[in-house]
């Protein structure tokens, strides 16, 4: 079965199947916007299937891959991850019930290891607020079986003492940064360095995942675009000379007028020139 077909079935199935009555009633009273949901697989080594409220959401989902964003009705979802092909009743590798998906939000659900190495699901709400023109947003998320880390940009700590499964973010000038991850408070590099292109008007979300003990710490990246603001305008010239040329009354012209027409006419010309220049 193709991913697309599963998605279509799931979107319909989720509404009918598992929504708690209270949430459904609320949704009827005041319909909320759908949520935008992506799923990242960040558990090393295991190809899995993902079920939402008992329906297959994803099959044959490989570590280090991310789904395209999916529109889902706001609500509460029971999520279950099984080994690929285990079936809906198969043994759960990870189970998370009543995962809240807020209406209108942009959410990434991450299957990852907790600090102790146990597979878990963490839903993150992505910051999709608009950015000032020329800026980019960097979000970092600690989803690795590893102790607290500092994330450095250009060798300097940008985010300090980040612990699993916390996140940190900042709005920065767009451009490429050299990022690495070190054990908190040290210069012992755990991941990287890697060049990360912070494209203007995007939220670039960098995930540290894998396991320190398994020696497979890695970075994964998700980019959300379209968050840009435009410049507020286009500044003008600073001289005013071009306008004077347009008037046909630069300094020499003024002297000519003086000579020909006399003071009274020059007086009005000067007044006009002041208004226009």
């Amino acid at each position: 079965m193709s991913f697309r077909r599963i998605t279509a079935l799931t979107a319909a199935g989720l509404l009918l199947a598992g929504l708690p009555v209270g949430v459904a009633a609320t949704a009827q009273a005041a319909p909320t916007a759908d949520a935008t949901v992506s799923v990242l697989h960040a558990v090393p080594g295991a190809t899995v299937d993902v079920y939402a409220n008992g329906k297959a959401l994803l099959t044959n989902f490989k570590p280090g891959t991310l789904t395209d964003p999916l529109k889902l009705p706001a609500g509460s979802y029971d999520l279950k991850v099984t080994a690929a092909g285990a079936g809906a009743k198969g043994k759960a590798v990870i189970q998370a019930d009543d995962v809240t998906v807020p209406g209108g939000a942009n959410v990434t659900v991450v299957a990852h290891l907790d600090a102790a190495g146990k597979p878990v699901l963490t839903p993150y709400v992505n910051d999709v607020s608009k950015l000032a023109a020329g800026k980019a947003r960097l979000t970092v998320r600690h989803d690795a079986a590893a102790p607290a880390v500092d994330v450095r940009a250009g060798g300097k700590p940008a985010f300090k003492s980040l612990t699993n499964p916390k996140e940190a973010k900042a709005d920065l000038p767009a451009g490429t940064i050299s990022a690495d991850v070190v054990l908190a408070g040290t210069s012992t590099v755990a991941i990287g360095p890697a060049d990360v292109n912070l494209k203007e008007g995007t939220n670039t979300i960098v995930y540290a995942w894998g396991s320190a003990a398994g020696k497979n710490l890695k970075l994964a990246v998700q980019t959300i675009s379209g968050l840009h603001h435009n410049p507020s305008g286009i500044p003008g010239g600073t001289g005013g000379q071009a306008a004077q040329l347009d008037n046909g009354s630069p300094a020499l012209g003024l002297f000519a007028l003086l000579a020909v027409f006399g003071l009274a006419v020059v007086g009005t010309t000067v007044v006009r020139a002041r208004v226009r220049s």
Binding site: F3, R4, I6, T7, V39, L40, L57, L58, F61, K62, G64, T65, L66, T67, D68, L70, A132, A133, G134, A174, A194, D195, V196, N197, E200, G201, Y207, L219, A220, V221, Q222, T223, H228, N230, P231, S232, G233, I234, P235, G236, G237, T238, G239, G240, Q241, A242, A243, Q244, L245, V275, R276, S277
Partner: protein
Amino acid sequence: MRTHAADLPTVAARSPVPIRLVVATAALNMAVKSVGVGADGQMALPADPTDIGWYRFGPGPADRAGSVVLGGHLDSREFGVGPLSRLRKVRPGDLIEITMTDRSVAGYRVTTVKNIPKQKLAVDDLFDREGSRRLRIVTCGGPYDADAGGYRDNLVVTAVASS
């Protein structure tokens, strides 16, 4: 649901960037510099009015959609009057050519030439990153009033991609 590898994006071959603007009918032949945003939130422009700036965060001529924005100073206290003082001579139908770093040339045909009061400049349309492939060349226009912050208007030439 489609999935893809969440790898760090590899540094792709950079798209070509505009380096020269030619408008024969207005005797314009200017170097194009890539520019961003000034401290005041406006588009940053090259200080020298003999250069014109390309808003590098928006679409470029090689992109398949959106509005390419070139902007330059009409004149400057330091450098005097620049070639963009001739931009108002441009007429609908005129050819505009932009040469890129890969030596390819993008052609545009002028559709409108308008003086727009700065406060009324529709920046969201001007800098639109979607829609048809078009070009905007913007400089200053209208009367100059040093006490009111300089030129009153923006002169905006709009052109559509012809090649």
